[in-house]
Subunit: 137 residues, 2 copies
Amino acid sequence: MSAWVKKVHFDDNGLIPVVVQDYQTNRLLMMAWMNHEALLETVKNRIGVYWSRSRKKLWRKGEESGHTQIVHEIRLDCDQDVILLKVEQVGGIACHTGRENCFYLRLDTVEGTDELQWNEVDPVLKDPETIYQQSHE
Amino acid sequence: MSAWVKKVHFDDNGLIPVVVQDYQTNRLLMMAWMNHEALLETVKNRIGVYWSRSRKKLWRKGEESGHTQIVHEIRLDCDQDVILLKVEQVGGIACHTGRENCFYLRLDTVEGTDELQWNEVDPVLKDPETIYQQSHE
């Protein structure tokens, strides 16, 4: 195993959290997980590859939607247990809901009360059904 | 339990990852974890409070260093299992190493080879010993 890989601390499940942001605007796009294999493939091909915890397999993001992530920079944090990818988001859509990014729920006060609620504050740029239909053409 | 809290998916350990970014520059500062109590306190006081997995207790960030995080916005992702805090980082230092942020290790090619290595690319702004001595004055 290469020396640089040994510095990366995977958790007890063999995974490490990955924060993904736009390389130009710094806007946060999504958070995902990588295992050892996903990290190696990402580094080799400079395209974002993750580990899908729900599907329990490698997730080559954009494989179906075309919305790949071209990796411009890879960083590691002080504890070596979180990765940051600075990427160019092809198609401008990182979220499976058809939005630019996954963090579109904002905690706001309900007007005239002291109650709180999550409001959808970012627009859907493309119908998710359209996004995934394309891949089967 | 309030309706907005019920929408937040904590993991099997009762934790949720939290990405923290500067509310003006979008620069990524750190990633941490919250339990239910940390989230409630953060929302109530608008100051970043986390769960320290190593110390197994609430971590009121800045309590010792003075480097608190004033919360400007709280967001939740599409799966409701990652939180984003947009904060004003008091003192301009989020990392315990005395740097602005924790992601100061960049994966670079070693010149003239095809080897990779992690390089420290962001400066230490304040000696960590100075940061934590202050708290005991």
